[in-house]
Symmetry: C2
Subunit: 249 residues, 2 copies
């Protein structure tokens, strides 16, 4: 699957000769440790994609939250089934490396980590233009939807409250839910809320990717930067309650 560079048997023997090792047998070549100059190249983007089962994706993502939180949860929900279905290049990606998006980036409450995990997965799966529009739709859906929706088979806590964040920011998404539910950040209910939301984001991303694979993904949604003259969310008045600063156009 991966394109190989200077790794044919003939080239390996030639390269071995060049660096003074001399001709070696095929068995020796199979134990050859590639040096930078002959390292394999990455498989060109977009990576091959087969439609995912959203229910399977949701379950893996929910369980994934309890292993390494939101960013890892969505990434493992989307990528683990592709590692099993397709193998390389997905198996070459250590998914746990994507966990630092947790808590809106190590607890800073910026972009919801679930969306960071989705962004990286979509970036490898979809061509740039489609991926950009899929993520635009994802952030709008995340902002507008009463979450969480997902009902785990074996919930770890009771989550009775749904909220709409009006924003893709972790701080607003978690904060509004905690206020309405009357639960703290450290409560089992808040944790299960985020685990369920992680499943929701992974499942919605899988559904949009499946639509794209089927040629059914259509989006005319404008990117906020094209509307406001600045990169922005749509909930302007939440941070600018009195007057929105003039935008320089």
């Amino acid at each position: 699957m991966i394109k190989e560079k200077k790794l044919s048997r003939r080239d390996l023997i030639l390269d071995a000769g060049k660096v003074g090792i001399g001709a070696v047998g095929a068995a020796g070549l199979l134990n050859f440790i590639p040096k930078p100059a002959m390292a394999k190249e990455a498989q060109q983007l977009p990576w091959p994609y087969e439609k995912l089962d959203p229910e399977e994706v949701g379950k893996i993502a929910y369980d994934g939250w309890y292993k390494a939180f939101c960013s890892y949860g969505v990434a493992t929900g989307l990528l683990t089934p592709l590692q099993k279905k397709i193998g390389e290049p997905y198996t070459l990606l250590p998914i746990e490396g994507l966990r630092l998006g947790e808590g809106g980036l190590v607890g800073w409450g910026t972009l919801c980590g679930s969306l960071l995990g989705a962004t990286v997965a979509v970036g490898f799966i979809a061509p740039y233009d489609a991926g950009k529009q899929i993520m635009n739709e994802m952030l709008q859906w995340y902002s507008d939807t009463q979450l969480p929706i997902y009902k785990p088979a074996n919930p770890k806590a009771t989550v009775a409250v749904q909220t709409t964040s009006n924003s893709p920011l972790c701080h607003l998404s978690v904060g509004k839910w905690c206020q309405k539910a009357g639960k703290s950040l450290g409560s089992p209910e808040r944790k299960d809320r985020c685990a369920r939301l992680t499943a929701d984001v992974a499942m919605k991303t899988a559904m949009l990717l499946n639509d794209w694979k089927d040629g059914k993904f259509k989006s005319t949604l404008k990117h906020p930067s094209a509307i406001y003259g600045i990169t922005a969310q749509h909930n302007c008045n939440e941070c600018h309650p009195n007057k929105i600063p003039d935008v320089i156009k």
Copy 2:
């Protein structure tokens, strides 16, 4: 470099036999396309790291912005030199897949894309605890520092103004700069400001990673979620000018 699963010569012959291909010669095996069940596994984290030259990192990141913007810029600044120095597993990662962080996530102004690129790179390079603290320091530095600092050898526009964002959000970082400079989002000056900031973020990340590699990285900075009882930035009054909502603890 990559751990192999069922890919020894002996195992390949055994596997080929199992699926009815029969014994084949070594030359044939070298052209073998792995199926999911025998796909290579990802190299375990953290990936090997060699200290980077911050100046080289900055130049690649600056030029990278003009190819695919901020998230890609930082990722390519950090990872391209490692592809050259170390080879696999870095060469197996198609860096352009990380470009969707642009404009705070496809123009939504959330987490500055440069920090998203840094997050993914650090997630592969540093062990989890160190990576988490490196990114905590990065977000604090990004918020507190007059940016941009980087001076390109061949600038594409004049950037005379520096600003402090007080936030890791693209919307605030770009917005405050545009207001002070009197330049629009679409201006050459704003674009070069973001290209320079991309270099700054990549260079600072490289310096922290180099310190960590030397055993010199120390950080006692608390994560905001441990201070406020909610995932948050430190600029509370900027969005809550009158009263910060009660935090449920």
